[in-house]
């Protein structure tokens, strides 16, 4: 082994070790469990049975679960799409030089300092039909005659509904700082000379964004999108706290389903199988990402 390889392994080893213990081991444990019968109430932990794909068959036979799968995808696409577009816009703003930039930046990043549990509680309050200050303002302005039921209106338009959009909005709010900070770091690595050259060519703001900013941000954007999608498919906290998946399953997503199956019904085997489904979905994203990455490396 040459010096370079030894150096590489030494550099990777600590991170890999920690990841193996806290990332890979729990994942394997969960996947193994999805092929076993693991019912806490049955008190059979010493004699664990292998049941093959039985758990998967059980959950996939449930219509509500199938609805939840498609909803998880819609939720994630909406949340990721909106958060990245907003992030691209706001990152440009906070990247510009102006007086008081530190204050504006800190304000824009401030949702990051509110833990998701607390944020969900405050948003629930802001969106609770009778107590909502948003409803109060809308009614005072005369824009609406009744209260909007942000988290409870069961009316649907295709796969969309008001509660779904409300929860997406809160997830966007929560995810925005994270997106902005990485886009900002990416933006700052773009050499100024490129913009100056574009200015010389008389490019407008949109042209510069399309021909300079976006291509230069590509690697950062790709990682970011991959991470956001994978995280989005497994998102749990805000959906669970704000609506518990309701009304009428309209805001249910896979991770919430999995959590309820385990922690409310004590069926950790079904919960693990639901995680297995999430794994299959995130694997697709992962494969796409690796493939694009590979192509980039070849170039």
């Amino acid at each position: 082994m040459n010096e370079k390889n030894i150096f590489c392994y030494l550099m990777v080893a600590p991170a890999l070790l920690v990841t193996a213990l806290l990332g890979i081991y729990p994942m394997l444990a969960s996947m193994v469990m999805s092929f076993q019968s693991y019912d806490l109430l049955a008190g059979q932990r010493d004699t664990i049975e292998w049941v093959g794909f039985e758990n998967y068959r059980t959950i996939l036979a449930d219509d509500r679960f199938l609805q939840t799968i498609s909803q998880t995808v819609i939720f994630t696409i909406l949340a990721v799409g909106i958060v990245v577009s907003m992030g691209l816009f706001l990152a440009q703003v906070v990247n510009a030089k102006f007086r008081g930039r530190a204050v504006v930046r800190t304000l824009i990043f401030s949702p990051w300092f509110v833990p998701p549990v607390v944020a969900s509680a405050i948003w629930m309050w802001l969106l609770q039909t009778e107590r909502s200050p948003i409803n109060a303002v809308l009614r005072d302005l005369g824009w609406t005659s009744g209260n909007i039921r942000f988290l409870t209106d069961p009316e649907t338009w295709g796969p969309f509904s008001i509660p779904m959009m409300s929860v997406v909005a809160v997830r966007v709010w929560n995810g925005l700082p994270f997106v902005i900070i990485f886009l900002l770091a990416g933006l700052q690595s773009i050499p100024k000379s490129l913009y100056e050259a574009a200015d010389m060519d008389g490019a407008g703001i949109l042209q510069k964004f399309r021909h300079v900013t976006l291509p230069m941000l590509r690697p950062v954007l790709m990682v970011l999108l991959a991470l956001l999608f994978m995280n989005g498919f497994g998102h749990f906290e805000m959906n669970y706290i704000m609506t518990q998946g309701g009304p009428r399953n309209l805001t249910n997503v896979l991770a919430v389903w999995s959590y309820q199956e385990g922690f409310a019904f004590f069926r950790f085997d079904n919960a693990a199988a639901a995680s297995g489904i999430i794994l299959a979905m995130t694997s697709v994203i992962c494969a796409i990402y690796l493939r694009l990455q590979y192509k980039d490396d070849l170039r």
Binding site: G43, L127, E130, M242, G245, G246, F263
Partner: protein
């Protein structure tokens, strides 16, 4: 740059050293966990004052820790599976956690200490409360807090509407609720006449109406589900009609995040059928300006009776504790009348001992007298099956929740929904 790098290095090395030195030293004190109740400020101080008294009497050191409600369930679930456990704790859901822990982890039976420390158990406590600490003939601890629910209403609105006194029957609930519901010119509801219950656990709202219609959830041995019957149809019809036919109940009631208290105190809700006694404490403390505008009353009677929801939490010992004897002493100390009174006062919950309920504290406010009377109608919410907590879980996917949602909110076919719930419930009972 160099300074930065050095600082970073120093922090890394420093924290590693701290980690090495940071492993907790073993302590010999008894570890005792509680959740918080009532006025949180009072609670911690009162429990710790009680513990000080105990230490003074016995010389046994006790370390008290608060388990936040937000993680209490996960905490006890890990404890029941062999996670780090306290010596003794304030617990609930005995049947489920016992089943999960088996004979290795979780709650520990205290049969051998029963005669020595609690010789007059049956006389000292309400029978309903004791049901929550007995499981498969084993004795697990002392019930210390009760949760009794009764009727609550806004007397000012009732007077306005010319209603004197609380409703006595289901029919009167409907009549009064109609009179108390107020709509604006656009048809928006400005005040709802009625809400089924106050607790965030919406499944607990169904139970009293079902009992009042003469139903029971399962057989006494916990083996057979018994919900496909006329009583269930009566209870669900009553609840559904209040929402849709009479339109006096908010159709969003069953959704997560529905919170009746702000509505009640702001005059947007007039009556609640099954109100926790804790509302009395909270309204007294936080809304003194509402004094005289609300009152509690015993549950209006259904077709069969006026059973009221009741539950209990208990102090128990955890398997694996090295301080069982000391824990039992602590529990015995806590269960004395004077200490039970202090706990009930701090927690704002009813006591599990008739002796304590007879004290002056429980008669100095009109609502407290009502709460005392409601105890006569107490019907325990515990059921002798480990799967009960899974059956009654108040979220979408839970059997009783789905039943309520399908029939009351979605107005689906009642017979089919009940038959399905019965079948699912039986399957759950068969799990263990």
């Amino acid at each position: 740059m160099t300074i930065l790098r050095r600082t970073a290095l120093a922090v890394v090395l420093g924290s590693t050293a701290a980690i090495a030195a940071g492993s907790a030293t073993a302590q010999d004190a008894v570890e005792f966990w509680t959740m918080t109740y009532g006025d949180q400020l009072n609670w911690k101080g009162e429990v710790e004052a009680l513990i000080d008294g105990f230490t003074e009497e016995t010389g046994i050191e006790v370390r008290h820790e608060i388990v936040p409600w937000g993680s209490a369930f996960q905490t006890y679930l890990t404890v029941s599976q062999g996670g780090a456990a306290p010596d003794c704790a304030d617990m609930y859901w005995l049947h489920s956690f016992s089943a999960i822990g088996g004979d290795q982890h979780g709650p520990m039976p205290l049969n051998e200490y029963r005669d020595e420390y609690f010789p007059t158990l049956e006389e000292d406590f309400y029978a309903g409360a004791l049901q929550d600490v007995l499981w498969q003939d084993d004795f697990y601890g002392i019930p210390w807090r009760g949760d009794i629910r009764a009727f609550i209403y806004r007397t000012d609105f009732a007077e306005e509407a010319g209603i004197d006194g609380p409703p006595q029957t289901w029919d009167e609930i409907v009549e009064d609720a109609k009179a108390l519901t107020v709509r604006d010119e656009n048809g928006n509801v400005e005040r709802w006449g009625f809400a089924y219950g106050t607790a965030t656990n919406v499944v607990s709202w169904l139970l009293p109406y079902y009992w009042q219609a003469g139903g029971t959830m399962m057989t006494d041995d916990g083996q057979t589900a018994t919900i496909d019957n006329e009583a269930m149809r009566t209870a669900l019809t009553f609840m559904r009609d209040l929402m849709w036919e009479h339109q006096v109940v908010n159709p969003d009631s069953l959704e997560a995040g529905y919170d009746p208290q702000p509505l009640f105190v702001n005059g947007q809700l007039a009556m609640v059928g099954s109100a926790e006694q804790a509302w009395g404490v909270e309204l007294d403390r936080d809304y003194p300006q509402l004094e005289g505008q609300w009152a509690m009353a015993t549950s209006p009677a259904g077709p069969e009776n006026s059973d009221s929801f009741s539950g209990a939490g208990y102090f128990g010992v955890l398997r694996g504790s090295d301080h069982v004897e000391e824990c039992v002493q602590l529990i015995e100390y806590m269960s004395r009348d004077e200490n039970m009174l202090r706990l009930a006062q701090a927690a704002g919950t009813v006591s599990t001992k008739p002796e304590v309920m007879a004290s002056e504290f429980w008669s100095d406010r009109p609502w407290k007298i009502v709460v005392g009377e409601a105890l006569q109608d107490a019907h325990t919410s515990q059921h002798p099956a480990p799967a009960w907590s899974a059956i009654a879980t108040p979220e979408p996917g839970g059997i009783l929740y789905d039943l309520m949602y399908d029939v009351i909110v979605l107005q689906e076919d009642m017979d089919a929904s009940i038959a399905e719930a019965q079948e699912r419930m039986q399957a759950e009972l068969d799990r263990s």
